[in-house]
Amino acid sequence: MSDPNWQPRIVAFFCNWCTYTAADLAGVSRIKYASNACVIRLMCSGRVDPQFILDALAKGADGVLIGGCHPGDCHYGEGNYKTMRRFQMLRRLLRDMGIEDQRVRLEWISASEGERVKTVINDMVEQVRALGPLNLPQHRAEWDGEMTSSTEPAGQPAEQEAAHA
Amino acid sequence: MMRIERTIKYEGDRVRGFGKEIMSVPGCELLQSCIQCGTCSGTCPLSIYMDFPPRQVMALVRADFKNEVLRSRTVWLCASCYACTVECPRQIRITDIMYALKQRAIQEGVYPKRFPIPVLAKEFFEMVRRHGRISEMLLVARLFLKTNWFAAMGSWRLGLGLITTGRFSVRQEHIRRPAELGAMLAAAGKGNGKAKEMP
């Protein structure tokens, strides 16, 4: 790795009722964890627009964490189910872009799971640290280059390309 | 004349960091949460012979009283029945802590002299290291040689019985590839630096 002082940057979208409260609880319980994640509070994980995730990665985040209530526990009934579905679609897109699964995570953390906030964030920070910086802005420039030179039809999944190679 | 002894402990009697060292052994971390309830002592079939019941050993370790713990008979009386470990309400792996203490007592040579158990452990260790297997009769014979001839004499009827029932064998069992095992054990020794050649 070129920069020894590099620290992963993670943007976290936490729902107000479960995960944000769990992070508050972690604080009240003085549970210590890595400082690499900054939390943006939303009322429900259902509010997480896939654009937020792409935007965060495009602006230099090395990972994005979405935290919501456990299935069945959503304050609004089933906002988290919608997040889950949306997330699965987004994941495919991210894979196509060559972004590793570990960089974008969806986790269910209930209001009482302060300890889990620590585990999830620490775990994610370590995984992203192992992957290294994402440098998406730089990658985008590269892709643009490929697109012009390549004769492959656009939108071919990355995995398939690898399999045929 | 009544013989009296000072039992007070000074800060200087503590060996700072000893508790931490034991608690850093894999599986021994939970000792920190001991609430001194005494379930271990109450469950232990051998606590009735111990100078410190297991509960006190836990307290002494946590408070860094290394010398008191390593010199105590308690760890050597542990038969590894794991009753304390499964009963402990704090899920402290007490049996594993006893092992960690035994290892340190042997390393530092502070176990009670002529007490047969540590000697047995060492003889066992040596035999396995050399041959890969244990031949029980040879082991017992060595144990008696090193500790107490009279005890051996006391068990003559047992020995005789074993001979007559055909269970007595003085043949040393071997594995076929002792060198392979030796190399592995040596590699492990380097791995944590704890293992030392026995004197």
Partner: protein
């Protein structure tokens, strides 16, 4: 970044709170203030010891006046704690309260990180994000919704009874729903109560009758809540009323039907007496039951089960015709504004610790069973007897059964020490037995409790500090023959003892009710990892939940004794009444709205809304949102393909700017 946007010139005031050393101990507050001061649009940037204090709030008001601030950002604790405080300060300073943004650098930063440089860097990032975001804030108005003044109380134990009567006395209409055929809960089973040793029935029974006779209380026993819809001020609750096959209004509790039942002898385990006595298929739960009417057990009654019975009970009740085999299960819908949950606890099953021999040795009993023995109305008429009919000569109490144990329940059940000491004193009162209490720690922190411990000691009760390892019946010494032997380390004496006794009492701890997860989902509450219902804040909001208008009282929130349960029930009643008497609910203006010009009328948002707040306007063929129904989750906003749905307080540009903010610091 330009300082101008569509709202005109932005003038931001930034305040970072030290919170004593809570924040300043880890975050370099002055340096954060200096960093923020340089950002465009920031007019003042200060650090201050306690922003939530009066002078702290005054600082904001003063700066709004003097520096003509039109945006305020405070970096301090969690918004769940003080967002309200600062919005009020901003409002009283003359600004719309929604021109405010809060940054959480205590719970999410200083309390969870140790490295000063890293924590300070994170505080900067979070503060910068808020500064970026607050530019886009708009003036918003809170909306008001009317509140239904009626209240539902779930659970008729001492907590539910107290909450219901308190509110009923204040003139509120209360529905009290209880699952069992009588109210009274666990307290009704007790003989006396610590530390005063006053009779439980004498203090509970009048409260129970008051519930029944109160004109403002509708009491539904043998009933369960099955569905809850709506939100604070406006809940619709469906209650299932199980058939008791007895008309409550006609039955006078003469009990002649029980005499007349075709089952000549009581045959079935009596739930109230923990199975220590028997009852018939038609029975009254206990003498002082409220309502004081009989109930028919559908599992046992021949008529209900097979339809082939002589129905001698009907004959016995010919005058009043209270027995009614045609009763069916009913679903009743009620509308209430607030709900108080007081569903209580379940006792730990002593069989889960096989070492103590409960269920194996007949003279090993639980504390609640002993409670039934010592009660004069209990199965033995107040006599403590062993299974062979003799009085015990020695009794051992084992404390913390199932409690403070990682293998079963981690928590301290809080009441067992006192409960056991009370029973120990009663055993001494009723018999001449030697009593030994085996404990880990005596926890007697209530008013008059330590004195009660002292009294127990002075009465000659033996206390042995040690968690009992096992109970056996195999004797190793002559004095142990025919006895139960307790093997324990006397940790204060430092050796293992074997203590032979005649009878062993297990102080079983408290657990969440078996169906606590279902109840939690039903009322949209949270549970802690142990299964107790979670309060909104452990100190500041101990009876509130994360769902407005749903309160918790008593042991469903965690183990507690009678005084604490009653205190909590009173608090829950007061919180509910505070909402009711205010007369309206203020709603956070975080609702979604449609930008009509952009809406393509694709209707993809409509099925997403859990509150059916979105519909298609027939005339315009565009989506429209009923603001009164919208709860502000934002799911539709994230899903709208044309970006025409937006959310107040969580606008896309606000969130994008927040993302940019947290990532753009160096």
């Amino acid at each position: 970044m330009n300082t101008q946007n569509k709202n005109g010139e932005v003038r931001i005031g930034f305040y970072i709170c030290h919170c004593g050393m809570n924040i300043a101990g880890v975050v370099d507050c002055p340096s954060v203030a200096q960093y923020i001061a340089k950002l465009p649009g920031v007019v003042v940037s200060r650090d201050y010891k306690y922003m939530c204090s009066d002078p702290g709030q005054e600082l904001i008001r003063q700066d709004i006046r003097e520096h003509k601030l039109n945006r305020v950002v405070v970096a301090s604790c969690s918004p769940s704690l003080h967002e309200h405080t600062f919005r009020n300060a901003v409002e009283s300073g003359g600004l719309n309260p929604f021109y405010f943004q809060m940054v959480n650098i205590r719970e999410h930063d200083s309390w969870v990180h140790t490295d000063r440089a890293q924590a300070t860097a994170k505080a900067r990032a979070l503060a910068r994000a808020a500064i970026s975001r607050v530019r886009f804030h708009r003036a918003l108005e809170t909306t008001r919704a009317p509140i239904n003044p009626d209240v539902l109380v779930v659970g008729g134990g001492i907590s539910g009874i107290h909450a219901a009567t308190t509110m009923a006395n204040a003139g509120k209409k209360v529905f009290l729903v209880e699952r069992e055929p009588s109210i009274g809960g666990q307290m009704a089973k007790f003989d006396k109560t610590f530390p005063t040793l006053d009779c439980a029935a004498c203090i509970l029974t009048p409260k129970m009758s008051a519930v029944r006779s109160h004109k403002n209380i509708t009491l539904w026993t043998y009933s369960e809540v099955v569905k809850v819809e709506g939100y604070v001020g406006n809940y619709t609750v469906t209650v299932k009323r199980k058939p008791r096959y007895v008309n409550e209004d006609l039955c006078v509790g003469c009990l002649e039907c029980i005499q007349a039942c075709v089952f000549k002898e009581p045959k079935f385990a009596d739930e109230f007496n923990m199975g220590l006595s028997k009852r018939k298929p038609i029975y009254i739960p206990f003498t002082q039951a409220v309502p004081p009417v009989v109930v028919i057990d559908p599992e046992r009654c021949l008529q209900v089960r097979t339809g082939k019975c002589k129905k001698t009970c009907l004959e016995a009740c010919a005058d009043r015709q209270a027995i009614d085999f045609t009763q069916k299960e009913e679903l009743v819908e009620i509308k209430v504004g607030n709900i108080i949950i007081a569903t209580g606890f379940k006792l730990f099953d002593a069989k889960r610790i096989p070492q103590y021999g409960y269920g194996l040795y007949p003279n090993v009993i639980t504390a609640i069973e002993l409670e039934r023995f010592v009660t004069s109305s209990g199965p033995t008429g107040g006599e403590i007897v062993m299974r062979d009919g003799h009085h015990p000569k020695s009794v051992g109490f084992i404390l913390c059964v199932g409690s403070r144990d990682m293998k079963t329940n981690r928590w301290c059940s809080r009441t067992c020490c006192m409960h056991s000491m009370k029973l120990a004193q009663l055993v001494r009162e009723h018999t001449d037995a030697d009593v030994t209490v085996f404990y880990m720690d005596i926890r007697a922190p209530g008013k008059g409790y330590e004195e009660f411990y002292d009294k127990s000691l002075k009465e000659g009760i033996q206390f042995v500090r040690g968690r009992v390892a096992e109970v056996t019946d195999w004797a190793m010494a002559p004095e142990e023959e025919g006895k139960l032997v307790i093997r324990v380390e006397d940790t204060l004496a430092g050796f293992v003892r074997r203590v032979p006794v005649d009878m062993i009492v297990l102080a079983t701890g408290m657990e969440p009710q078996a169906d606590s997860q279902e109840v939690r989902r039903l009322f949209n509450m949270s549970c802690g990892s142990e299964g107790w219902f979670l309060e909104k804040h452990p100190k500041l909001a101990p009876v509130s939940t994360f769902t407005d208008g749903v309160f918790i009282a008593g042991c469903c929130q965690g183990p507690k004794d009678i005084p604490d349960s009653i205190a909590q029930a009173g608090a829950a009643a007061a919180e509910a009444m505070a909402l009711i008497d205010k007369g309206y609910i203020e709603q956070e203006p975080n609702t979604a709205y449609i930008v009509e010009a952009d809406c393509s009328g694709c209707k993809s948002c409509i099925p997403l809304c859990p509150y059916t707040a979105i519909s298609l306007d027939d005339a315009t063929q565009k989506a429209k949102i009923n603001e009164a129904l919208c709860k502000g989750c934002g799911t539709c906003v994230a899903a709208c393909p044309s970006g025409s749905i937006r959310q107040n307080l969580f606008e896309d540009e606000e969130i994008f700017s927040e993302i940019e903010g947290v990532l753009s610091y160096v």
